[in-house]
């Protein structure tokens, strides 16, 4: 870990401004991802701006009938919120499938969205990684890639996005609200928050320098059956090999988002149109253009099989 300076931000705008001013600064929320990366010198911020005191820890109803989730709301609190459980069951289930109780107590909404890849080569500073050292190469290609992404990947990076929460939020069409260093605000549809790696895998989001997430807004509830199915090697406390989030309406229409298969929470609206044709048709569309490695090709089958089971479950539920 490199030595760093530290400040407690006094307002969102001041935090954004400070961050833009001081190159090498980072926001710290729960710290459950950032601190681990700093200890290994994968992240080397010279200045930390603590955003925990910004009163961004509330969940409020919006005039449109949705919910506005503060950026600092802890994963535990979000999952337990009665409105979330009633109207956005998918989100609650996705959150509870992630990490451990202790981590969820600390982890925040914004931090969860911005958590970084879990690629083991990214975590080892002696290995080649374009995400850590742009242009150095990608050790995972041709290496251990069983957990990696199969779609949306590039020759530069095949890391998957590890968040469960983000997959549910993608299915729920969440909007990410930010404050920029000049004090202005911006609303970013979650689909546009994360970038595909292309040849710049180190640039992971569309956030600008110093841009601070202040909230995530969920549109009015859409009803339907909410299922989040996370597939993993052990029963708990493991990242998804594949996860499938569905919201299925009584008429059979619905939404499908998947995790563990792409550099961002993955949803293809055109695939949802094929729900009446069943899991295979949806998967074909969803994972069109997939470029798996030998080690992770099973994910294509796994998504299809899991989706089929989830759709059957949705159909059989009262």
């Amino acid at each position: 870990m490199k030595a760093f300076t530290y400040e407690r931000a006094v307002s969102p705008a001041a935090a954004a401004q400070a961050a833009a001013h001081l190159p090498g600064s980072k926001f710290i929320a729960g710290g459950t991802n950032l601190l681990d990366l700093m200890k290994l010198q994968i992240e080397t911020p010279t200045h930390l701006i603590d955003v925990n005191g910004l009163a961004l820890d509330r969940i409020e109803a919006t005039p449109e009938g949705g919910l506005r989730i503060g950026a600092l709301v802890r994963n535990t609190d979000l999952a337990a919120d009665a409105r979330v459980r009633r109207d956005y069951g998918l989100l609650s289930r996705a959150l509870l499938s992630g990490a451990s109780g202790q981590l969820r107590n600390k982890a925040t909404t914004a931090g969860n969205l911005l958590q970084r890849a879990r690629c083991p080569y990214f975590y080892d500073t002696d290995q080649l990684c374009n995400k850590r050292h742009p242009g150095s190469g990608c050790a995972a290609l041709g290496g251990f890639s069983r957990q990696h992404a199969v779609v949306g990947v590039s020759d530069s990076c095949i890391a998957s996005h590890p968040s469960d929460m983000a997959v549910a939020m993608r299915a729920l069409d969440a909007i990410v609200e930010t404050v920029l260093p000049d004090g202005s605000t911006r609303s970013i549809p979650i689909a546009e928050l994360h970038r595909l790696p292309g040849d710049t895998p180190h640039i992971e989001t569309t956030l600008g320098a110093g841009e601070l997430i202040v909230a995530v807004t969920l549109p009015k509830p859409i009803g339907g059956k909410h299922i989040y199915r996370k597939v993993r090697d052990r029963a708990s406390y493991a990242f998804a090999l594949v996860s499938v989030a569905v919201i299925v309406q009584a008429d059979g229409s619905g939404r499908v988002a998947v995790g563990g298969v792409a550099p961002k929470p993955w949803r293809v609206e055109a695939a949802e149109a094929r729900l009446p044709e069943g899991a295979k048709a949806v998967t074909d569309e969803l994972l069109a253009g997939a470029a798996p490695t030998r080690e992770n090709a099973y994910k294509l089958t796994l998504v299809e099989r899991t989706l089929r089971a989830v759709l059957a479950e949705a159909g059989s539920q009262p």
Partner: protein, 726 residues
Amino acid sequence: MKFDSPATTNPIDQLKIVGKPTNRIDGPAKTTGTATYAYEWKHPDLKPAYGHVVGAGIAKGRIASIDLGDAQAYPGVLAIVTAENAGKLGKSKRNTAKLLGGPEIDHYHQAIAVVIAETFEQARAAAQLVRVEYIRAEGSFDLARSRDSAPDVQNAATGDFLAAFSDAPIQLDETYTTPDHSHAMMEPHASLAAWDGDKLVVWTSNQMIDWGRTDLAATLGIKKDKIQFISPYIGGGFGGKLFLRADVVLAALAARAAKRPVKVALTRPFIFNNTTHRPATIQRIRIGAGKDGKITAIGHETWSGDLPDGGPETAAEQSRLLYAGANRMMATRLALLDLPEGNAMRAPGEAPGLMALEIAIDEMAEKLEIDPIEFRILNDIQVDPEKPTRQFSQRQLVACLRQGAERFAWNKRNPRAGQIRDGEWLVGMGVAAAFRNNIPMKSAARVRVDNRGIVTVETDMTDIGTGSYTIIAQTAAEMMGVGLDMVTVSLGDSAFPVAAGSGGQWGANSSTAGVYAACVKLREALSHKMEFDPSDAVFADGTISAGNRRFTLAEAAGETGVVAEDIMEYGDLAKRYQQSTFGAHFVEVGVDTATAEIRIRRMLAVCAAGRILNPKTARSQVIGAMTMGAGAALMEELVVDKRVGFFVNHDLAGYEVPVHADIPHQDVIFLDETDPTSSPMKAKGVGELGICGVGAAIANAIYNATGVRVRDYPITLDKLLDQMPA
């Protein structure tokens, strides 16, 4: 005391305290955080500096240059030790690779420097400023590719295996693989070293005090008696702390360089490539049997790899003794690999060996259309198959299988695979035999009784979370006729007599036998002092008595107390009798029809392992071992990057071990058994028996559930998916 003829009745047989389920006497200290682990030692006179280890970033080659400038200039840095300035270092026989590498690099994350600073944070930050240029060399990292060039290092043959196998009407010839495993114990290796002139004190976390001390002396080139090794509490070891490791050597060198005490802990990512691991194996098993189900030929060949001068994983060992069959061929081959050093991990040999053998037995039973339990019973043997005049001292494998079958409701198992469904789950049951040898090891102890009647045991035995403190206290209490509240136990200090240490499941029987010997001496000393004939004196209820004379132990001890020390040594009973422990594992799994996720539903172990000294701590050992076996079956794998030559998933996010949710229900039964050939304690061990066979029982249950046979561990869903029903 020399133990050279089978034990007769002795005070332990009273079983007033020994054999009773007893809470760990060190439990309160551990649950209240007052048990001091290696990295936590504090003393007003010790103002330790902190060392942070730099590991090699390549698997094989040389350091071309090492630039310490920026690190040395970092605030708080006191010194940096590398091979260049460390002085001449030796290497003990028990270490394969050097613990401080350079300029030659033998394996990934081999320590090449330790940076010492005022604070841990400064040391870590400065360590990251050490810049190393390497010259990479070609290495060999792929066991499968090195297999054909691996020479035999151990062989055992009886009869004419090849002829008998080719004549057998029913044959099995399959190859199985097990991956490299990490001990992944909770507490990483850690040491605090302090020099006082030419004397060195090391507080550390080590299973074998005397080995560690001896090997540290050899490495530093100093006399053993100049070193004190202290390790009273150990946060798990599983074999990972059997040997001297880099933390100890680097703490000692760092303390010398910085001229003050230094603490060094290995960080979690270092545990996987810097320390030892259980080597991967490839195992070819051939079994031939008659139509009657009797094995006529059994062959087990195993391949593993290690660095030059390393040793093999002896995965064929159990196959020499477990089943009958007149024609036998076992071969252990060792390839040269430039991966980190392979070495012992919980039940070395048997753990991976049975993972393969016990699938093979299941497959063979299926070919023969015999129930796998009946097939095992049919091929049970009460003598050493290689030397039929030599009997097992005790062998209750059949009873373990039968009793387990009844308790587990084995008769509900459908012998046809893939038939049982419970909602979304395919459900199956599996069984495997457990087998692990008993190894008696000489062990010494010192026991004293003071003027309050308190009995104190001192021995350098270690407690790695197993319950040594408690069974030693039970032994002393039983022998001296006092309650547990009158016994204190001090362990893990080289100032104490040398004990067996914790390894090879020998600790419980051997260390308590050493305490037994010392207690016999103490009873004699007290008897003589009170002018009793030792053979008449009765030690009970805190008193010593004979005839109509009775004294409290406090009275007998007198102002100065009485102390005795002895060592238990062994004759040739272990040669005359084959001493082994046996068990049977039963597992029920569910396999998700859609995702092929495997979840264990129930586990049962039935063990016959000599006298169970403390059923509570023994049960904890067995359920812990079953959990570890579940990890080996379902998820644990050090993934080798065969291009770079290292274990890629080197943290606990990447190297998954079971969590609570993976292990819903476990049951353990101990059969009544005493083994008079093992020691006066008549005990053996269970800590390793518990892991032996678990993996195969799970694999067999998965097969029974799905009809898919996986022979490559770990059995993860991607290996089943394509063959699962649509």
